[in-house]
């Protein structure tokens, strides 16, 4: 049995490995969404290595907790996690966005094991998570459902249709994690279509809402483990930094996509030499 401190230290180390794998994956092909992938690294690390009840060797295990990536453009981070877990073969890591690859531009269940949903058109994941949570209730199962959304994604109306229904039906094993990195495709969320006060919105829709540092593994783990307690669905607003961990990407909407493939390639090469 590891202590909480050990747990946290190993998660931090794992997040560091994952962050590097994401950068290598995108740099190898010069296309993808680095900023949006890097902001969610700790969230994925904590979920897959400390929270979810799952069996990497048996991705379809019926009693597993479900993780749904609704902000599908964060796919590289999820792919890197699935590769690390052995769900996807290591050789696929260089095949992001290539024809016939399991690493499709946005997650696609037809090509890739270990994905709970296909995603890419924003705003659709929470409804599917809601459907899974309702199915669990109908089937008298206790698995939990975690859905990761982007903050910009919360501009989609369907998100609030689903949020309203989940709150109404008190689906306490459903968790919406919002990767609040503050940026969307065209710029800062607050400039394009401000979402604040976002926590108040989720609370108003009947969710137990918690705001956390989305890069603090210990806090994330503690928070995400509480899903299923109480009577209400849980919204975790993870305050994150877009492009976290790479100085020239942090807080820059132009690195939502690859702004400069050569710069990224040089950076990853330097990481390799370090």
């Amino acid at each position: 049995m590891t202590t909480a401190a050990d747990d946290s230290a190993s998660l931090i180390a794992q997040a560091k490995r994952l962050r590097r794998a994401v950068l290598e994956m995108i740099a190898a092909v010069g296309t993808g969404h680095p900023g949006s992938s890097l902001s969610m690294v700790e969230i994925l690390t904590v979920l897959y290595y400390a929270v979810l009840r799952h069996r990497p060797g048996e991705p379809e295990w019926p009693l597993r907790d479900r993780f749904l990536l609704s902000k599908g453009h964060g796919a590289p981070a999820l792919y890197a996690t699935l590769i690390d877990l052995g769900v996807l073969a290591l050789e696929t890591a260089t095949l992001l966005r290539q024809l016939g690859s399991p690493l499709q531009g946005h997650p696609d269940r037809r090509f890739t094991p270990g994905l709970e949903i296909s995603a890419g058109s924003l705003g659709q994941g929470l409804s599917m998570g809601l459907g899974m949570a309702l199915a669990a209730r109908r089937l008298e199962q206790t698995w939990r459902v975690y859905v990761l959304l982007g903050d910009g994604e919360c501009q989609e109306g369907q998100v609030w249709e689903a949020a309203m229904a989940a709150g109404h039906h008190r689906l306490h094993r459903l968790c919406a994690i919002v990767d609040c990195n503050g940026f969307q495709h065209d710029g800062a969320v607050e400039d394009i279509l401000d979402l604040e006060p976002l926590a108040a919105k989720w609370r108003a829709f009947g969710w137990r809402t918690v705001e956390v540092d989305g890069h603090d593994c210990a806090v994330l783990a503690r928070t995400l483990r509480t899903v299923g307690e109480g009577e209400r669905p849980v919204a975790v607003l993870a305050r994150t930094v877009k492009g976290k961990g790479v100085a020239f990407m942090e807080g820059r909407s132009d690195w939502h996509s690859v702004a400069d493939a050569d710069q990224l390639a040089r950076y990853v090469e330097e990481l390799g030499r370090a």
Binding site: R110, G120, G123, M132, R138
Partner: protein, 320 residues
Amino acid sequence: MREAFIDAILVERSLDERLFVLDADCARSTKTCRFAQHYPDSFLNLGIAEQNLVGVAAGMALAGLRPVACTFAAMLVARAGEQILQSVAAQELPVKLAGHYAGMSGAREGAPHHSVADLAFLRAVPGMEVWIPADDADVRPVVKRLMASPQPGYVRLCREPVAPLAGGTHFAEGGLRFWGPQEPEVVLVAAGITVRECLAAARRCEERGIATAVLAILRLKPFPESQLVALTNGARLVMSVEEHSWYGGLGGAAAEALAQSAGPPLVRVGLRDQFTETGSYPELLDAYGLTAPHIERQVLEHLRAGAVSVGAPKPVGGSS
């Protein structure tokens, strides 16, 4: 067809406890409220939120249930079109969609409640099966096939009961129903309420000595292309009649099939790129040229013209 549909779904639920019915605040209209009385654990009203309705259905299917999403066809298909495409079809999920008040059968509710473009969209959704019962008696076998399929599927339902039509031979896995002489001069291709009207029109044509067959398309997709070609081969005229835009629906499917054959000319009858209006259902069918007398007149005119022009029937009725 509403009650017939619920009867059929109740039977399916008795055979499969994974079946789950979802509605979007139309339960008293779609009659899913009757299903809910029988199976409260297998029903949920998700409120006026069609996008979420379809997304929830997708999630349920991913978790092993057999969801049936029910609401007005107009809102189900158009409002949640992207969810049907991305959440359901792109994931190849066996979600079933029941489009109620389809065509103009929501008559007096007016144009926003009429669904006259649903078929054009759904035909273009990869893997989507599309069923259109011709009468209440067709509903049970159609629902049985709909539910048995591993594909996503849509059933287009008329608000009004449609009394069972006499005769007709079912074939092509229940996807076709055929009435008529072996070597018809005219073949009327119909779906839904226009089957009834075409049968009446065919009788009137027969009285005039014109051998007229009616081919009801119960399964619009996959479309029975080869059967259509075979059954219309040798006829002088094929006329499709649909309660839908004349773009992309039944007439479109028939045109695509016949374009690859050297068969007879096709005339498409449907809504002429126009929005509909309020009225009683019989009034609307008449106003937009979909009743037996209109169909008969179109047949006579096109036969008289001899060389049948493909594509555009003369304007009929309506406010155009």
